[in-house]
Every structure is written in C-alpha cells, then in structure tokens.
C-alpha cells in the first residue's frame, strides 16, 4: 500500500532542499473524480499531490514538454526535475533517455508501484453505470464514492486492459520507490486482447480496421499525449516547426506532403500506420493514445502487435535499459528473413 503522505513528504523535502526544480505528479482535477497532471514547484504545493486509481496519465510526457520549453526559452536547468512514475511511465522515461532526449541526471524518478492493482479504465466504470465522485486503492479492490455510498469493486473488473496484462508494474528504474514490488502479479497473460483479435480472419480484420480508421477525426490527441511523439517535424503538420527566419523558401516549398489534412480513411490509415511503425520498439504500452481517443479507436491493438513482433521475432523489450540498442537501429544475424525472396 502506498502511503500518500510519503509521496507528499518526498516531494516537499526535495523542493525545500532545492534538490529538484519541480515535481511532476497528479492532483485532483475540477472534472469530477479524475486526477490531472500537475507540475509543482514550491514545497507548500506538495499537499496537492494525490495517488488514486485515476492516476492513469503517463507523466513522462511532461519531461518532454519540459525539455521543449527549456530549448525554446534557451534556459539552462541546473537541477533535475522529479517525476512520479508508475512501472510503465518509468519504462517510457527509460526510452526517452535511451534516445538521448535527456540524461539520467536530468530527472529524478519517484517510482510508484502499482502493486496488486493497476489503474482504472474509466470507460469500464461508465459501462457498469457507476458515477463516482472519488476513487481509492484498497488491496485488490478499488473503492468508489458514489451517491449511494461507498462501492467496492474488484480492481480487475474495471482495471485498464494494459494493467491486466502488465508484466512490470514495479518501476525498475527509479531514484526512490514507493510501494512493494509485486512483479509477477499479472492477471491476464500478455497480449490476451491481441490474441483474441488475431483469431479473426483477414477479411474480418480488414472490416474492423476499415471502420475504425474511417471514424478518426484527426484531433491528434493520440499523438499529442504520447511521450514518444516528440518530433518537431511530423508528417501530419502543415508546417515544420523548426522554421525560422533563415529557412529558405525552397526548403518550405519542397517539404513533402506525405499526408493530406482531410480525415478520410486512406489518410487516417496512413497516419495511424506511420505512427505505429514509428513507435515500434519505443511504445511501452502505457496506452494513453487509446485512453484519450474521443471516438474510442482501439489503438492499443496496433501497438501491441508491434510490441509482440519485437519480442518474439527480435527478442526486444522496449524500455528495458538506458544503454541498450533501439529496435530499428539494431539487428541480429538471426533476425527472421524467410519472408525475403
């Protein structure tokens, strides 16, 4: 069981001792029972921090935002920034360091173990018809405060799919860690949802994805929320953000338009498939993209597929080590090649 007071005290002490510039954590939002990301910079703000089943956000996104802000303002950061990181968040922080987005010394990881549970999938709760005003961890259950009083639900009934299949709910990479290491508490076998989907024949799979890609409204919430989607230059943007007064007209005029702005099936598909391939070996299954999709496109299936290929074909585990090679910039002599003529 994680003691919230420990989390707050840790943040408070580090800020008071000027050991970190800020702490990226969760606080209560003004939108019902949900948590929201926050960056606190003063010790007295530490009591705003919370830890409950709605802390699903992958906060390593804000490490990226922080870097971008520093680069933009040409500011130098003398102190590290601290982050509250679940197992998955810690893995994506590792990927960012593996890609040299920042260095290990730039970040102070306050790991939190997800212990017996994971985090909530809000949609599963809505499907159960529960309207809660608060949620809390309690052993293997989530406890919700509703108009009818307290409601206790086994976590696995409303837990996010990725948490059910999680292999590493304990943040291995950390400076300090809160909670117990319950690695191996995995409730569903990895890739359970993926396997279920793959039982469909190709025609049925196509029918499924055809429908999904058509529904995309291209709000880019999936891209915006993804810590790995940090590129300054993305094929879906109308412009390249590194444009300055020195960029020549030719550079601007010759920029390749890989994808049109129209939210049609073909364009949407190109966008999502490009993104999935760009995330291969980098996606650590925080599943934020699927969570934030306003029209519920099951993006996790796509990312899971790549993750499993990487694992089974190339023995690659994303976010395993800072110094390790990246999936698509490395190879083994034993990589499968039978498909090549």
């Amino acid at each position: 069981m994680i003691n919230l007071q420990d989390m707050r005290d840790t943040a408070r002490n580090m800020l008071a001792k000027n050991e970190v510039r800020g702490v990226i954590g969760y606080r209560r939002s003004t939108n019902g029972m949900l948590a929201e990301p926050v960056v606190i910079t003063k010790p007295e703000q530490a009591d705003e921090l919370i830890w409950d089943p709605t802390c699903f956000h992958n906060l390593s996104l804000y490490l990226v935002e922080d870097r971008k802000f520093l680069a933009h303002t040409r500011a130098k950061a003398d102190l590290p920034i601290a982050i509250i990181a679940k197992g998955c968040d810690a893995r994506s922080t590792v990927v960012l360091m593996q890609e040299n987005y920042f260095e290990r010394k730039d970040v102070y990881i306050i790991g939190v173990s997800c212990e017996g549970t994971g985090v909530l999938d809000e949609r599963k709760l809505v499907k159960k018809g529960i309207r809660a005003t608060n949620s809390a961890f309690d052993g293997d259950d989530f406890v919700f405060t509703t108009e009818q009083g307290e409601q206790r639900i086994p976590a696995r009934e409303v837990m996010a799919d990725r948490c059910l299949e999680c292999r590493e709910c304990f943040p291995k990479e950390h400076n300090i860690v809160l909670g117990e290491d319950k690695t191996g508490r995995q409730l569903d076998a990895p890739f359970t949802a993926l396997k279920r989907f793959e039982e469909l024949d190709p025609a049925a799979r196509w029918e499924f994805w055809d429908h999904q890609f058509e529904r995309c409204i291209r709000c880019f919430a999936c891209r915006s929320v993804c810590p790995m989607c940090y590129c300054d230059e993305c094929i879906v943007d109308s412009t390249s953000f590194p444009v300055t007064g020195q960029t020549t007209a030719d550079e601007k005029a010759n920029r390749v338009k890989w994808i049109e702005r129209s939210a049609t099936r073909a364009e949407n598909m190109t966008y999502h498939m490009t993104r999935v391939l760009h995330l291969a070996g980098r996606c650590i299954d925080c599943n934020e993209c699927e969570r934030v999709c306003p029209v519920n496109i099951p993006l996790r299936l796509l990312n899971n597929k790549m993750e499993r290929e990487a694992r089974e074909q190339f023995g690659y585990e994303p976010g395993a080590s800072i110094g390790g090679p990246s999936l698509t910039a490395s190879f083994l002599d034993t990589d499968p090649g039978k498909f090549i003529r």
């Binding site: 020549t248 007209a249 030719d250 601007k252 005029a253 920029r255």
Partner: protein, 274 residues
C-alpha cells in the same frame, strides 16, 4: 463577386517585373481577368491569389484603384505558394478573389500633408495610396516618402520612386553604408527622426517589418504626431479572407475583414497578437 465566396476568378498574368533578386526575390505581377471586368478595390485592400495545386495566399493590392484594367501585386518569395508564383511566366493563368479588408480613409486626408514610411516589401501595401495621392496631387499638401531597405539592391520600385521626385519629397535609405550611396545610411526610423517631418496637419502612414513599425511609431511620437495621425497595416496568417476560418484575429478583430488598416489609436487598444 460571385455567390460562391470561395471560388476564385481566373486572371491572366500580363506583366512581370523583377524588383529584387536573390533568395528572397521580389517580383511585381500585373494580372487581368480572363473574362469580364476586374473587381473594384480601395487603397489598402488585399486579394487572395490562387495557384491551383499549390494553394492560396493573401497579398495586398499594390496598384491604385484608379487603374481599372489590371491589378498589381508585389510578391516576395518566402513560402510554398509564393515560391511557385515566382516560377510563373507572362500569359499564365492564376486565380484571384477579393477585395478583402478595410482601406485607408484617403478622402478624409485631402488638404493634408502625407508622410509615407515604408521598409522592404512593406512599400507595396502603401503603394496604391502613394500613387493615388500623386495622381490627385492638387488635393494634397506636401507628400513625403521615406523608404529604406537593407541595401540599394533591395530597394523595390526604384525607377518609379525616382520618377516621383518632381512631385514629392523622396527620402531613401539603406541600412549600412555602401559605395556610391549618396542618401541616408541607417534604419528607416532613424531617417524619419533625421528629417523631422512636421506633425502639423499631417498624416503618417507606415508599413514594413514589425520591428521597424514599432520604432517608426516611437519616433513619430517623439516628433509630436498624435496616435490618430499614424496609420499602419498589419498581417497575420490567413486562409479564407472572409472572417470565418478563425486564425487571423487580433483580439476580437479578424484582420482579413476589420483590418488590415489601423490607426495607431485603434491598434494600441488591441492585444499584440500579430
């Protein structure tokens, strides 16, 4: 204008003049409608030029409203559409829709002194005003044109300006001294301060890079110009020109319909979002 507010009319390029060479070259185009008469416009208004397959761009009309047969545009090569425009030749057909935006209140200024202050390609938006005022020379008192650019080879409308010297006080400048340059050396705002145009019964109109405009206004204020005597134009990214696409607003005003012309008295009330 047709009922279809997004459908451009076809217009043929009848004349191209290269004003300035180099990477950011400027060319002046004259376009005439392929069919029928061109729309009427007023000084300071803009038009949306189309190159099909490339897109649209909002450009201020650089010819006087007194000229009915063609419209003139001075285009700097800076982006996707403008770069493609620079590849065009006389006789080719482009799209045009407009006119858009408000205009300079020239009629209110009759009998006054006019001081024009332009920098770089910023001479183009006030060019219709200068040429109209000179065409109606008797209606106005003293006319002064300050114009400057980085170097002598970056000055546009050079021949036309020289031609105007008999009718107006032309004050040219280059940012840095160069061999053979006999006029003012230094930035445009400094030239204005140097020549000290009198604010009495005078309207000052300025257009150029934002940083230049800022210092021109400061210097005009030093010379005693009131905010109501200073006019400028602003620009923002535009897509529709019709006050609908929602990106060119400065505060509550869409620049494409409420602008681009503002007196400093009006502009200083708006947030600095341009």
């Amino acid at each position: 204008m047709s009922d279809n507010i997004y459908l451009p009319e076809l217009a043929r390029i009848t004349h191209i003049k290269e004003e300035i060479g180099g990477e950011r070259s400027i060319k002046t185009y004259r376009v005439e409608p392929v069919e029928g008469a061109a729309f009427e416009h007023e000084c300071g208004q803009c038009a949306m030029l189309s190159l099909f397959g490339r897109g649209e761009m909002m450009i201020s009309i650089a010819s006087s409203p007194l000229i009915k047969e063609y419209k003139q545009f001075s285009i700097m090569r800076v982006g996707r559409v403008s770069a493609a425009f620079h590849e065009l030749e006389v006789g080719e057909v482009v799209g045009i829709r407009g006119p858009y935006g408000n205009s300079f209140p020239l009629d209110d200024w009759r009998g006054k002194n006019l001081v024009f202050i332009g920098g770089g390609v910023g001479l183009a938006p006030i060019w219709p005003l200068i040429t109209t005022a000179l065409a109606q020379r008797a209606d106005f008192n003293n006319i002064t044109v300050f114009y400057g650019a980085r170097s002598a080879s970056d000055l546009m409308y050079k021949a036309e300006l020289d031609h105007m010297r008999s009718n107006a006080d032309i004050q040219l400048s280059v940012d840095k001294a160069e061999p053979g340059w006999k006029e003012f050396c230094g930035f445009v705002p400094a030239n204005v301060l140097d020549k000290k145009p009198s604010p009495d019964n005078t309207i000052a109109i300025t257009c150029g890079p934002p940083i230049m405009i800022k210092f021109v206004i400061q210097n005009l204020q030093k010379l005693g110009f009131a905010d109501e005597q200073i006019y400028t134009t602003i620009e923002n990214k535009m897509k529709c020109g019709l006050g609908k696409c929602g990106r060119c607003n400065v505060g509550k005003d869409y620049v494409c319909t409420k602008g681009p012309v503002y007196s400093w008295a009006q502009l200083k009330e708006l947030p600095e979002e341009y």
